[in-house]
């Protein structure tokens, strides 16, 4: 046997290994193959190949492992139990960039499933290695590392704190400034994942000067990047007034409103979320947004979009209106109420309806003027029907009732109050009658109208307990009219008349 023959054996062996790994990696891309692969024991076969002498085999093995692990948490757990992670972490520091990318991919695939798996990744020292890979020259490696860090940090506060403690944040901020769009995107998303957990984490992100860079990128044409940037800004500003003010001070405001017209739905959603997070803190911040024309833009956005992406916009209107009557008036002036009424009517999901009802309640509860504006867009019957609907969830019922009550307590707009007289249950009727008892003594036209539309008759038919508040309101209404009229509309008056005929003796 010549030397060539001997070498040929090795050659053959290496080629076959290569072929095996690549085929497995190829097969792992299709979900229907995963089950079979798992049953065939692919994990235990791939593990030794991770330590193969040939880098390409290692790389392909890592790729296959990553694909398998990203498929289900069972497989990810198998990766953790198979003690593969320490090898990966070790080689993450050692190998070439292709392998680093693949290793970071595996870590990401494992960490994405559950906090426990992410904790396992952290426990095997992956954070330090990933942070070091963030300093790599190759943008692909950085991207993979940032992505893995993001998946680790998104689970809970302590994992995010671990990522921060490993020193990832300054490097991520550096990564944002790279020219590569994908890298920017992933880093922004990672920053968002880190800052979403607690004010302290958000403060750490802010301390590295991330806001200025994020604010710069709000006007980029890349939609996916904008999604993540706005999400990060929103997550930062949601925690406290200071953070929100810092985001506002980056002077993003009139400019980003243009993004509410973006073709991408999630960009619009994230920007409205950002505005919601900012406005919810103080009246001053809300006023700032209102003055920039943000409310009008959000209302237009509500008109343009459908479904659950409307939710942050609706909530933003509610938050703005809740701060002060002036701001609520601003929402009304910006034609927010008809839009909210449309949302209330159009949306099918209960939580959306509840949000719209809540927002309307916040707008209407300030003064009679506000309540009038809300009542004129004909939402009171809708709110009542939501409250009475047996299909509605508890939360929706509670929100609809609260909104209805707070609007009714201020409402003096008689045409809107009248229909409620006939439909409302007693606990709502109380407020309606109370409003009538306040309005009628001072308004002769309303008194007349109240009789002609049959309101008085309806009021006489109500059975109130003597001495209750409802009875007092009814009495107050009755004193506005002459006694004959009240008697005329009382139930049983015709019988009384007939009785008088019977008793009458002609002279």
């Amino acid at each position: 046997m010549s030397q060539r023959h001997v070498l040929q054996v090795f050659e053959q062996y290496q080629k076959e290994r290569m072929k095996f790994v690549q085929t497995v990696a190829e097969l792992a891309t299709r979900p229907q193959n995963i089950e079979t692969l798992q049953n065939a024991g692919v994990m235990s076969l791939l593990r030794p190949l991770l330590l193969d002498a040939v880098p390409t085999i290692q790389q392909s093995a890592a790729l296959a492992l990553g694909r398998l692990a990203s498929y289900s948490d069972d497989l990810a757990e198998a990766v953790v139990k198979g003690d593969i992670l320490p090898q990966l972490v070790y080689s993450l520091a050692e190998q070439n960039r292709f392998y680093k990318k693949a290793a970071a991919f595996v870590l990401r695939a494992v960490a994405k499933h559950s906090p426990e798996l992410a904790q396992a990744v952290v426990d095997c020292g992956a954070l330090d290695a990933l942070v070091i890979s963030l300093e790599e020259f190759d943008p692909g490696v950085k991207e993979a590392a940032a992505w893995a860090l993001g998946y680790i940090a998104r689970h809970n506060g302590s994992l995010a704190q671990a990522v921060v403690d490993a020193g990832a944040v300054p490097l991520l901020v550096l990564c944002i400034q790279e020219p590569d769009n994908a890298l920017k995107r992933i880093s922004a998303s990672t920053l968002s994942d880190i800052s979403k957990h607690s004010p302290e984490l958000a403060q750490t992100v802010v301390d590295t000067g991330a806001i200025a860079h994020l604010a710069q990128m709000t006007l980029y044409p890349d939609a996916k990047l904008k999604r993540h940037v706005f999400s990060a800004l929103g997550q930062i500003s949601k925690h406290s007034v200071d953070l929100a003010e810092m985001v506002v001070e980056a002077e993003i405001f009139p400019a980003v409103l243009a993004c509410l017209k973006d073709p991408d739905e999630y960009v619009r959603k994230n920007i409205s979320t950002l505005m919601r997070e900012i406005t919810k803190h103080t009246p001053e911040l809300s006023q700032m947004i209102v003055n920039a024309g943000g409310v009008a833009a959000v209302i237009d956005y509500l008109g343009d979009s459908r479904g659950s992406v409307r939710l942050p916009g609706i909530m933003m209107l509610g938050y703005v209106a809740a701060h002060s009557e002036n701001l609520a008036m601003a929402v009304i002036v910006s034609k927010g109420v008809p839009q909210l009424a449309i949302c209330l009517a159009e949306e099918t999901e209960d939580h959306m309806k509840a949000a719209a009802a809540w927002a309307l309640g916040q707008i209407g509860h300030h003064t009679p003027e506000h309540a009038r504006a809300v009542a004129m867009s004909n939402v009171l019957p809708k709110l009542l029907s939501l409250y009475l609907d047996t299909q509605s969830s508890e939360d929706l019922k509670a929100k609809a009732k609260k909104a209805l009550k707070s609007i009714l307590q201020k409402c003096t707009y008689v045409p809107a109050l009248e229909p409620l007289l006939y439909e409302a249950p007693s606990n709502v009727l109380k407020h309606v009658i109370c409003q009538f008892s306040k309005v009628l003594p001072h308004d002769s036209k309303a008194r007349r109208l109240f009789v002609t539309t049959g309101g008085l008759k309806k009021v006489q038919e109500i059975k109130a307990e003597p001495g209750s508040a409802l009875q007092e309101y009814i009495n107050a209404i009755n004193t506005c009219y002459p006694e004959e009229i009240v008697r005329y509309y009382s139930p049983g008056y015709s019988e009384a008349l007939l009785e008088r005929i019977d008793n009458y003796q002609p002279v």
């Binding site: 050659e11 290496q14 080629k15 076959e16 290569m18 072929k19 095996f20 690549q22 085929t23 497995v24 190829e26 065939a40 024991g41 994990m43 235990s44 076969l45 593990r47 002498a53 040939v54 880098p55 390409t56 085999i57 392909s60 198979g82 003690d83 320490p86 972490v89 070790y90 993450l92 520091a93 050692e94 190998q95 070439n96 292709f98 426990d123 095997c124 020292g125 330090d128 290695a129 070091i132 409103l257 243009a258 509410l260 017209k261 073709p263 209102v290 003055n291 920039a292 024309g293 409310v295 009008a296 833009a297 237009d300 002036n326 008036m329 601003a330 002036v333 910006s334 034609k335």
Partner: protein, 353 residues
């Protein structure tokens, strides 16, 4: 003397008289004494009563004087207090008037200025209008831009199609496929074919250096000789054919990988680390690794081998008998060679292998 005589003459009568008188006096003594006592007691009583009444009168005078004095004092105090209260009430009322005027003025002027608010709301409405208009314009603009790009792309697509189908152009002798003589006017494609420029052979775009494998295999791409002098059939775009022909060698990963790749990478890494090292404490990745951990058997193998402790003569002993009942290693996977070649090969007769 006469008188004396006379006296003597009356002596008897005097004696008698004397006795009578004495007797009378004795008889009246008690009565008179009682009367005297009565008179005295009455007198003394009058006297004491007069004194007492005198005293009472005096006491009354003192009392009335004192009472008048203190009452006057009390009254003055009352008056003073009442006056003070009245004054204070008045002042308070006036202060309230002043304050309410001022507050009303202040609030109306600076806090809830109705006109200011109205103006603000009007300005806000105007601003909102403006924002809405601007956003609308922007959206319109963006939409147009997107449409324009889409249309351009479509146009480009059609143009390329026309370039590829240029041989279907009708000639003087024969109408082309798109120029049916049974139709009043030729198809749109026909017009396009007429205007289109003939496809020129272009060299394939150069591979960028970024997505190459690390080994130095792809250094020389020499220009290949043309298959024919002129392009023969319009079966594929010439550029595509050229690209196929000049496709850089894509060796299998095994061949592409240099034998010393690991060493090279390590060397590079070492160099890199040496260049960029700021701290001399090296990174220790195995902070949690357990050196004395038991060997865990692989999932799908039946090997009974355990890691033996150090200090023995050998690490592994050959036990043929043990291996006899063992199953053979399963070869579960077949290789898929077809996938590797898929869409890549192109023979010079133009057939896909």
């Amino acid at each position: 003397m006469a008188r004396l005589v006379k006296f003597y003459g009356q002596m008897e009568r005097i004696k008698e008289q004397y006795l009578i008188r004495n007797r009378n006096a004795e008889e009246n003594r008690l009565r008179e004494n009682a009367a005297a006592v009565k008179i005295q007691s009455w007198f003394r009583g009058c006297q004491v009563r007069a004194f007492l009444s005198y005293l009472h009168r005096n006491a009354t005078v003192i009392q009335k004087t004192w009472r008048a004095f203190s009452a006057r004092q009390y009254f003055r105090q009352r008056v003073k207090t009442a006056y003070f209260l009245m004054k204070m009430n008045f002042y308070n009322k006036m202060a309230v008037k002043i304050q309410q005027r001022w507050r009303g003025y202040y609030i109306r002027k600076y806090v809830h200025n109705y006109y200011e608010r109205k103006r603000y709301l009007e300005a806000l409405a105007k601003k909102n209008e403006q924002v809405r208009r601007e956003l609308e314009e922007l959206a319109e603009h963006q939409k147009k831009e997107r449409e324009r790009i889409a249309m351009e792309r479509e146009e480009q697509e059609k143009y390329m199609q026309a370039q590829r189908l240029h041989f279907l152009l009708s000639t003087k002798q024969r109408p082309g496929v798109f120029n049916s003589p049974f139709r009043p006017e030729p198809d749109e494609m026909e017009l396009r074919l007429r205007t289109v420029k003939l496809l020129r052979t272009r060299s394939a775009p150069k591979e960028t250096a970024t997505n190459q494998q690390p080994s130095g295999f792809l250094s020389s791409i020499e220009r290949l000789p043309p298959i024919h002098k002129t392009p023969q059939g319009p079966f594929r775009a010439a550029a595509e054919v050229q690209r196929q022909r000049q496709r850089p060698l894509e060796p299998s990963l095994r061949v592409a990988t240099s034998i010393t790749a690991l060493e090279e990478a390590r060397e590079e890494l070492r160099q890199h680390e040496w260049r960029t090292r700021l701290i001399d404490q090296p990174f220790m990745p195995f902070s949690k690794a357990h050196p004395n951990k038991e060997y865990e058997a692989l999932l799908r193998t039946h090997s009974p081998y355990q890691q033996t402790a150090y200090g023995k003569k050998y690490f592994r002993e050959e036990d043929r008998t043990h291996l006899q009942g063992k199953k053979k290693f399963k070869t579960v996977f077949t290789t898929c060679q077809v996938f590797d070649k898929f869409g890549r090969l192109y023979s010079d007769t133009g057939k896909i292998v």
